[in-house]
C-alpha cells in the first residue's frame, strides 16, 4: 500500500517539474533567445576573425553559413512552440548551454558544471541548518507545551514575534559587523581559510566558517518551529487516547514522548519541512552576505553579471530541489502516519 503511494507521489512530482520547466521556458523565452543570438553572433564574429586574409565576399559567405548552421542547431528557426519545447527538453536533460561571463573554479563556462559545483556547498549549510532547527524547534516546542503559559513559553513566543519579519541576511550583516569586525570571533566569510588545511583540520575549518551562518539561521528559524510544535502537541494532549494512556497508569514520560510526540509527528514534520523549504528559498541570498560559495552566492553573482543562462539553470535546479523536498515531505508523512502507510479498513 505504501509502495503504491510512494510511486504515485514521485511520478506526480516529476510531472509537476516538467510542467513548471515548460512554463519557465515560455515565460523567459524572449530573454533566453536574445542571449542565445548574441552568443551566436559572438561565435560567428570569432569565425570571421580566424579566417586567414580572406576576401570580403568569402568572409560574408562563411559567417552567413555558420550563422544559419548555428540557428538550426539551437532550433531558433522553428516556430515559437517548438522552440520552447526544445528549450524545455534541454533544461530537463540538464543541458543549459554556456554562461556569458561566469566561470567555474576549473574555468569552464558550461552552466551545468558551474551549478553542479556549488550545489553540495549549499546543501551542507542548509541541511545542517534545517536539521538543527528541527531538533531545537521540537525540543523547545515540547518544553513549551509541557508548561504552557509558563515563563519559557511566553518569552519564546515573544521571540518568535520579534524574529517573525526579520530578514535573515540582515541579521547576517549585523552578526558579521559585531562578531567579526567588532569582536573578532568568527571568520568573515567563505568556505575555508585561504590555504585550506588538509584532512581532519579541513572539516574543522569548514565548521569554523559555517558557525556564524548556522548560528544566524538558527536564531531566525527555530522559534517559529517551537511555536508550531507547541500548538500541535497541545492539541494532541487534549485527545481521548492521551487521557486513556494516563488512565492506564503509564508514566508521564511515555505519555509525552511516546504517545503524544509520536502522534503529532506527522503534522509537525509536514508543516516544519514546508516552512523550512520556504525559508531555504527565502534565505538563498543569505549566502551572499557570508560569501559562502553556494547556490545563493551564485544567484548573487549571476544577477550582478546579468548572466541569464546561469540564472535560468539555477532557477530550474532550485525548483527541482524544491519539488524533491515536497515529495520527500509527503513520503515522510506517509511513513509516519499509519493511516496512509497501512491503508483503509481491514
Amino acid at each position: 500500500m505504501y509502495r503504491q503511494y510512494l510511486v504515485k507521489r514521485i511520478l506526480y512530482g516529476i510531472v509537476m517539474y516538467v510542467i513548471l520547466i515548460f512554463v519557465f521556458s515560455l515565460l523567459f523565452n524572449a530573454t533566453s533567445e536574445q542571449t542565445a543570438r548574441s552568443q551566436i553572433e559572438e561565435e560567428v564574429r570569432l569565425v570571421g576573425a580566424s579566417l586567414v586574409n580572406p576576401t570580403t565576399e568569402q568572409v560574408t559567405r562563411i559567417t552567413e553559413e555558420r550563422r544559419t548552421e548555428l540557428y538550426r542547431m539551437y532550433h531558433l528557426d522553428r516556430s515559437l512552440l517548438e522552440r520552447v519545447f526544445y528549450r524545455t527538453w534541454d533544461t530537463l536533460t540538464l543541458r543549459f548551454g554556456n554562461s556569458t561571463i561566469i566561470k567555474s573554479s576549473r574555468g569552464d563556462r558550461e552552466v551545468g558544471k558551474i551549478i553542479l559545483e556549488v550545489i553540495p556547498r549549499s546543501l551542507i549549510l542548509f541541511t545542517t541548518a534545517v536539521f538543527c532547527q528541527l531538533l531545537i524547534g521540537l525540543f523547545l516546542g515540547l518544553k513549551k507545551a509541557q508548561r504552557a503559559g509558563g515563563l519559557l513559553d511566553r518569552t519564546t513566543s515573544v521571540a518568535t514575534m520579534v524574529v517573525y519579519g526579520m530578514p535573515s541576511w540582515w541579521l547576517g550583516m549585523i552578526m558579521i559587523m559585531f562578531l567579526v569586525y567588532g569582536i573578532p570571533l568568527f571568520p568573515s566569510g567563505g568556505l575555508h581559510s585561504s590555504p585550506p588545511p588538509s584532512g581532519f583540520l579541513y572539516t574543522l575549518d569548514l565548521f569554523y566558517h559555517m558557525a556564524l551562518p548556522l548560528l544566524t539561521l538558527l536564531l531566525i528559524g527555530s522559534w517559529g518551529l517551537s511555536l508550531l510544535t507547541r500548538n500541535i502537541v497541545l492539541g494532541v494532549l487534549q485527545e481521548d487516547y492521551i487521557m486513556a494512556a494516563r488512565a492506564r497508569g503509564l508514566p508521564e514520560r511515555n505519555v509525552l514522548f511516546g504517545h503524544t510526540l509520536r502522534t503529532s509527528a506527522p503534522p509537525i514534520t509536514t508543516i516544519a519541512i514546508l516552512s523550512l523549504l520556504g525559508s531555504v528559498s527565502g534565505n538563498i541570498l543569505f549566502e551572499g552576505i557570508f560569501s559562502w560559495p553556494g547556490m545563493g552566492n551564485l544567484y548573487w553573482v549571476a544577477v550582478e553579471q546579468n548572466d541569464v543562462p546561469v540564472l535560468m539553470g539555477l532557477l530550474s535546479i532550485t525548483t527541482g530541489l524544491y519539488i524533491c523536498g515536497l515529495v520527500l515531505l509527503d513520503l515522510i508523512y506517509g511513513f509516519l502516519d499509519p493511516r496512509i502507510k497501512v491503508g483503509g479498513k481491514a
Binding site: 520579534v162 519579519g165 526579520m166 541576511w169 550583516m173 559587523m177
Partner: protein, 466 residues
C-alpha cells in the same frame, strides 16, 4: 451583513481583542507607523527626500558617513553637530548707491572635533560680490572667501569654506607656524576647518587643539541697485549629523527611514490584501464546487505551490527589470497560494456541517449558502491571515532590492540596505546605516505578527470537532 450586524460584530470583536495584550502592543506600533506616514513632512528634515533620494547634489551639505548626533552623549570628546543657522544680525550701510550689508552668524563651538565645512547660502537676483570672514573667540579675525555670486531667480547659491577658503587658511597657518613645520605640511591633506577652529600657534598644523568659544561668521554683501539678496543662512556640516547619521553618499538616513515607512506599509498591505483575497475566494470556490472542478483547481494550486518564491522573484526581476508596481504584481502572483490550503480545508469542514445541509433542504441556493453561512465565518479569518502575510511581502521586496533588482526610483528600507551593502557599511562599521533599516523591517514584521496572531486566536472559526 447589514450595517447593524456589522457594528454589533465589530463591538464584539473589539471586546475580545482588548483582552489580548500582545495584540494591543502590535496595534500601538501600527498606529505609530501610520502616524509617521501622516506626519512625514514634519519628521523629515529634508523635504525632497522622496524625489531626490539618489540625487547626490541634494545632500551635498551633509558630512559623509557621520554617526548620529546622540553619539556625543556617550563620548567624552564631543564632535561638532551638523546644524543650519538661520538667525543672524544684519547691518546695512549705503556708500555711493551700493548697499553694504553685513550678516553676522553666531556659532557656539564647544566641540573637541571641529565641523568639516561651513557653507553660506543665499538667493536673489543679479551679481553680488561678497566677502566671508571668521571672527574667533581669541579675537583674531581672518578673511576666508572673497568672490562674486551670479544669482539667478529662484535658484539657491551656496559657497563652501572647505572648497573655496583653502588658500586663505594656508596663509593664516603660515603666519602662525615655523618655516620648518610648514615644509612638512602637505597642502592637499590640510583640512581648512580644523585649522580655523584650532588654537593658533606653533604646532597647530601637525596637532591642532580645538579652540572652543563663540565664533562669528561675517558675510559682507555689496548689493548693486538692481541686485537683490534674500533669506541667507549658514550650514555647519559637523562630524555627527541627524537622528540616524548619514551614509557614504551624505544622505540623511533618518529621512530615508521615515520615507520608507509608507512604502513598506503600501507594499505589505497591498500584496497581502490582493493575494489573500484571491486565495480565500479560490479556496472557498474550490471547496464548494467539489468534484472534478475542485481537483482541477487543486492541481493548479499545486503547480504554483511547487515554485520556490524568492528564486522566481529574483529571476523575473533580473529579466524584466520591474518598477515597484510590477514587483507587487509578481509577489501577488505567487503569494495568493499561501492561504488556499487552510481556507479550503475550513470551507470543506463548514460544508460538512449539518446546518449547511439544513439550508439546502430549505431550498437555499449555493450563492446564499456561501454568502450567508461560509463568508461571515471565513472573511474575518482572512483578515487575520492578511495581517500575518504583510511581513513576508516587506521582506521579499527588501531582499529583491538588496540584490539590486528593486525599484531604485523610490526610497525603501531595502534600497537603503542595498546602499549599505555596496557602500561597505559592514566593513566600515557604520552601524547606524545598517541597523536601523533592518530593525524597522523586523519591527514592521513584529507589529503585524502581534496583530495577526491576536486576530487569529479570536477569529479562527473553531469548528466543533465531533
Amino acid at each position: 451583513m447589514n450595517g447593524g450586524r456589522l457594528l454589533y460584530w465589530l463591538k464584539d470583536f473589539w471586546s475580545e481583542f482588548r483582552k489580548v495584550k500582545s495584540g494591543l502592543v502590535g496595534l500601538a506600533f501600527l498606529l505609530l507607523f501610520l502616524l509617521s506616514v501622516v506626519l512625514e513632512p514634519l519628521l523629515i528634515p529634508f523635504p525632497e527626500t522622496n524625489k531626490r533620494w539618489s540625487d547626490i547634489t541634494y545632500w551635498d551639505e551633509n558630512p559623509r558617513s557621520a554617526p548620529p548626533f546622540w553619539t556625543n552623549w556617550f563620548t567624552g570628546k564631543k564632535s561638532a553637530v551638523t546644524e543650519r543657522i538661520r538667525s543672524f544680525k544684519a547691518e546695512e550701510r549705503q556708500s555711493d548707491g551700493v548697499t553694504l550689508r553685513n550678516l553676522t552668524f553666531p556659532y557656539e563651538d564647544s566641540f573637541e572635533y571641529p565641523p568639516y565645512d561651513l557653507i553660506v547660502h543665499f538667493s536673489g537676483k543679479g551679481s553680488v560680490p561678497f566677502l566671508v570672514a571668521l571672527q574667533r573667540p581669541d579675537g583674531e579675525a581672518l578673511e576666508l572667501i572673497r568672490a562674486q555670486a551670479d544669482l539667478t531667480e529662484g535658484e539657491d547659491f551656496h559657497v563652501s569654506v572647505d572648497k573655496e577658503a583653502r588658500d586663505a587658511v594656508m596663509e593664516y597657518v603660515r603666519s602662525k607656524e615655523s618655516e620648518e613645520a610648514m615644509s612638512r605640511l602637505n597642502r592637499s591633506a590640510l583640512v581648512p576647518t580644523e585649522m580655523i577652529f584650532a588654537e593658533a600657534g606653533p604646532g597647530m598644523a601637525a596637532k591642532p587643539i580645538a579652540l572652543k568659544g563663540n565664533y562669528r561668521v561675517i558675510v559682507t554683501l555689496m548689493i548693486l541697485p538692481d541686485a537683490e539678496v534674500k533669506d541667507p543662512f549658514l550650514v555647519v556640516s559637523g562630524r555627527v549629523s541627524g537622528i540616524l547619521g548619514t551614509d557614504s553618499s551624505k544622505r540623511d538616513i533618518w529621512s530615508g527611514i521615515v520615507a520608507g515607512v509608507k512604502w513598506a506599509l503600501l507594499i505589505g498591505l497591498l500584496t497581502a490584501f490582493v493575494s489573500v483575497s484571491v486565495g480565500v475566494v479560490y479556496g472557498i470556490m474550490s471547496a464548494y464546487l467539489g468534484g472534478w472542478k475542485d481537483s482541477l483547481m487543486q492541481r493548479i494550486f499545486e503547480l504554483f505551490i511547487s515554485v520556490p518564491l524568492l528564486p522566481i522573484l529574483i529571476v523575473m526581476s533580473a529579466v524584466f527589470k520591474p518598477s515597484i508596481w510590477t514587483i507587487i504584481v509578481m509577489m501577488c502572483a505567487f503569494f495568493w497560494v499561501r492561504p488556499v490550503k487552510t481556507v479550503r480545508s475550513m470551507a470543506l469542514q463548514i460544508k460538512e456541517e449539518t446546518y449547511i445541509e439544513a439550508s439546502r433542504a430549505l431550498g437555499a441556493g449555493s450563492g446564499r449558502i456561501i454568502f450567508r453561512h461560509m463568508v461571515p465565518l471565513l472573511i474575518p479569518y482572512a483578515f487575520a491571515v492578511m495581517a500575518l502575510d504583510v511581513p513576508s511581502a516587506v521582506v521579499y521586496e527588501a531582499t529583491v532590492s538588496l540584490i539590486g533588482l528593486g525599484d531604485a526610483t523610490i526610497v525603501t528600507w531595502g534600497q537603503i540596505l542595498r546602499g549599505a551593502l555596496t557602500g561597505g557599511a559592514v566593513l566600515g562599521g557604520l552601524w547606524w546605516w545598517v541597523v536601523p533599516p533592518g530593525i524597522m523591517i523586523a519591527l514592521m514584521g513584529m507589529t503585524f505578527a502581534f496583530v495577526g496572531f491576536a486576530m487569529d486566536k479570536i477569529l479562527h472559526p473553531k469548528l466543533r470537532t465531533r
